[in-house]
Amino acid sequence: MTVDRMRQIVRLRLRSLFSGASVDRELDDELRYHLEQQVDVNIARGMAPEAARTAALRALGGVDQRKEECRDTRGISIVENLLRDLRLAFRQLRKQPGFTFTAVASLALGIGANTAIFQLLNALSLRTLPVRAPHELVEMRLTGDGRAGRHTGRNRQISLPQYEELLARQQAFSSMIAFGDTRFNLSPTGEVRYVDGLWVSGNFFETLGVTPAIGRLIGPADDVKGCGAGVAVISYALWQSQFGGRSDILGQTLPGPGTAVPIIGVTSPEFFGVEVGRQIGAAMPNCASGNTRRDHWWLATIGRLKPGWTRAQAQSQLQSILPEVQRAAMPDFRADWAKLYEKMAVDVVDASAGVSPLRQSYARPLWILMAVAGLVLLIASVNLANLLLARATARRQEFAVRLAIGGTRGRVLQQVLTESLLLAALGSIAALGVAVAVSRSIPPLISTVVDRIHLDLSMDWRVFGFTTGAAIVTALVFGLAPALRLAGTPVVGRERSAAGNDGAGLRRMLVSAQIAITLVLLFGGLLFLRTFRNLATQDIGVHERGVIVANVFFLDSTFPPETRIAAFADLDARLRALPGMIALTDAYTTPLGGSFSDTDIEIDHTFVGNANVNTVGRGYFETLGTPMVAGRDFDQRDVPEAGRVAIVTKSFADAYLKGSALGKHFTIPDDIQRDGGTDYEVVGIIADQKYLDIRETHPKILFKASSQEKELRPIRRYVLRASGGAARSIAAITATVAAFDPTATVRYALLDTQVTEAMLQERLMARLSTIFGGVALLLAIVGLYGVVSYTVASRRAEIGVRVALGASRPRILTMILGDVGRIMVIGVIVGGILALAAGRGIGSLLFGLAADDIATLGMAAGLLLIAGFLSAALPARRAAGVDPVSALRES
């Protein structure tokens, strides 16, 4: 075919497609010209004008037929057929609003749920950081034991000295950045107001290729030892929300405790930090953090791979220099620990999507929810397939006629599939709305009072691609079986009796499959629900209701460290005197409060194990309602000068002190602050309480007396109970603290909220998987109801005969329900096997029960069977009530 010819063909096809009207008009003109000429010729031959016209028309054989034939010669394009099919499909759907609504709504729910979960996954795991060449970025992680010392931040991997040694020795990266997450307080006095923040190395912005919106960003010159309070860069979001986007922001200072820090610039709008799930408000150089301790683990690193270097090469290079790095960074470390540090394994992972502890904890649950949502969509599709099969049976005659007048089977198939695609398209448009609503509702569910989760959920090509793909696959799944059935319609010989049973076997099989999948989803939903219940009913060892935690920060305070003990005693007394105060004490941390400290325990110079540490004031256990098992609480005897005393949990006593712990001694060998370790005498044993994680069992906690501390931190954490409501207490405390020290700030937490927030992931899984399971159950029941109703309707005559021959009503009822039972039993058996297989994938997310919990499976199956029989009862009763005379007359 020559190019010219091709061009002409394409031009003509496009023309008939897009300007069909003008092509038709041209055809009219052409045929009219022919007629007029012919009439003239006929008249010239001596015919009368009327007769001449009639003869000309007859010769042409009917203008309209000719026009249609001419149209046919050009109407062979696929696109035009498709448009015609679409118009027809629209008409068909408009004629059956009930069917259309059901179909579109169930597709919207199914595809919408999938899109929503995918949106979350996309935001969390797939979308790359908005920085230069994100695919060159990798994160270095260390795995191994023995990271003793101070730990802060969510992404802690190494210390500042380790970073400096790494920087000097690494070869894989063109540059390597280090950063630590933190919070900056924006409120100079009163209750604190935090924004997420970053400590960054001087090469941070340069390496990532982040540009300033105004001013300049932190550079290597800003991150040098002795930089004091340093400088600050704020995010575009903070600039807009806190400073109204004013351009005179440069040179202003960032408010908050500590020395005021000059703002030198604002980052570009799209930059949110390097941690997915967080929107930073400000960044300051590492040198200003004061975190220089060699055993302070707080930094994460990201490197930009040199051209030609692979992740594996980088990993082996870093691994080879690690012992040197550790020796250089931790020169005077205990020999047994130094060995552990040198043995740590380096892992180099892709960081094109940033770092994210949120991703580590939620990616797996989300993939599971994705699978669950996919199965829900599958059930919805099967329902639609069933509906369409029923319709297909009803439309057989229509299609038989089409085939008889010359439609090809291919065209019939195309027409039916077009209808399915149209349904899927309508469904997926509605689904985008559902998805936006669902995905927006998730981040608040997994945010805590302090940690706001920020995910960029905007639609991108991946989300649209996913939705389109889901719609097409769905349309094929539910559209293909009915389409093939219709395309196989015989032109003649459509026997009446067979009509009722058309596709019945296939439809029953589909319902069995639906029931099987529903059982899997119900089982999963119940497992997550029971996990959440198990956690929620966990005894955390305290009565958390009504307990308020007030953190008072004296970071800007003029109290020198040595006066703190007296000053804090004064504040304690003032707070205790507040009206309604029932109990007030202080603590380093509270159960599930997020702070933690742990230490080695030695008895008679032998290492026996680890324990978590909390330092608490007198009355702590009483305030929290933790019972004393033996011994005494801290009291006025426990002063700094006296011998050190400790209270331990029952698990601690059982594990390390063989039960009879009172009066026994142990030492904490590496108490960094003090030399040589300290000897502690156990004076009390309390019932177990949780420390950091609600899933922990047998918590071994050691409580020190805060009254024995020689030096206090500039932070006082009060734990208190008061009458008269939390809001009133909070207002009174804030006022008292302000009167005591105007520069102090306070942050409050409610202990019961803190406990609930320890189960966010489980709550999310329980909630979503139960909702999905419920939707699946609903869909399956609708499907079952449809099939049973249809069967009953098509077997009316047969049932009539049975009744006429003396079958009793219960007998008919049993027959129909027995049929339902067969469908369900097959579904439940297959589903049970699938559920147990699928359960293996979620075992690690469960608590208090195993993934092959037979009782849960039984519950799910029972629920499904009851719901199934109830839904079948209605049509079955209808069958039993068939009047033989009218049934037989109809047939």
Partner: protein, 111 residues
């Protein structure tokens, strides 16, 4: 069906292409020409002419242009394209083969 017996499949196309090879013509002229040339032997109805013309146009073998006629009316004139010329040669050859074969068969001496 009372339509005149159709020409052998493809023959009408060949005749149209041949006629347009001589000069561009409009539909009515082609119809007149066909009647003159073939007389009563080939019955080409006006009815089958236009679909055939449109088909040839869609195939890219002929192209159309609106031009004034000798008596100053506007009519759609068809002319042969380059690929149409090649098609004409091809169809002529195959017609010749077919005609030759048939005439050979029908003129076989009956023994």
């Amino acid at each position: 069906m009372s339509r005149p017996a159709d020409l052998v499949q493809g023959t009408l196309d060949l005749l149209i292409l041949k006629m347009l090879a001589l000069e561009p013509l409009h539909g009515f002229a082609i119809s007149q020409r066909l009647k003159q040339m073939s007389g009563d032997i080939l019955q080409v109805s006006d009815g089958s002419l236009y679909p055939a013309l449109h088909k040839l146009e869609q195939e890219g073998w002929i192209e159309a242009e609106w031009k004034p006629t000798e008596n100053n009316r506007r009519a759609k004139f068809y002319s042969l394209t380059r690929s149409g010329k090649r098609q004409l040669v091809k169809e002529t050859e195959s017609w010749a083969r077919l005609a030759g074969a048939i005439s050979m068969v029908v003129t076989l001496p009956e023994v």
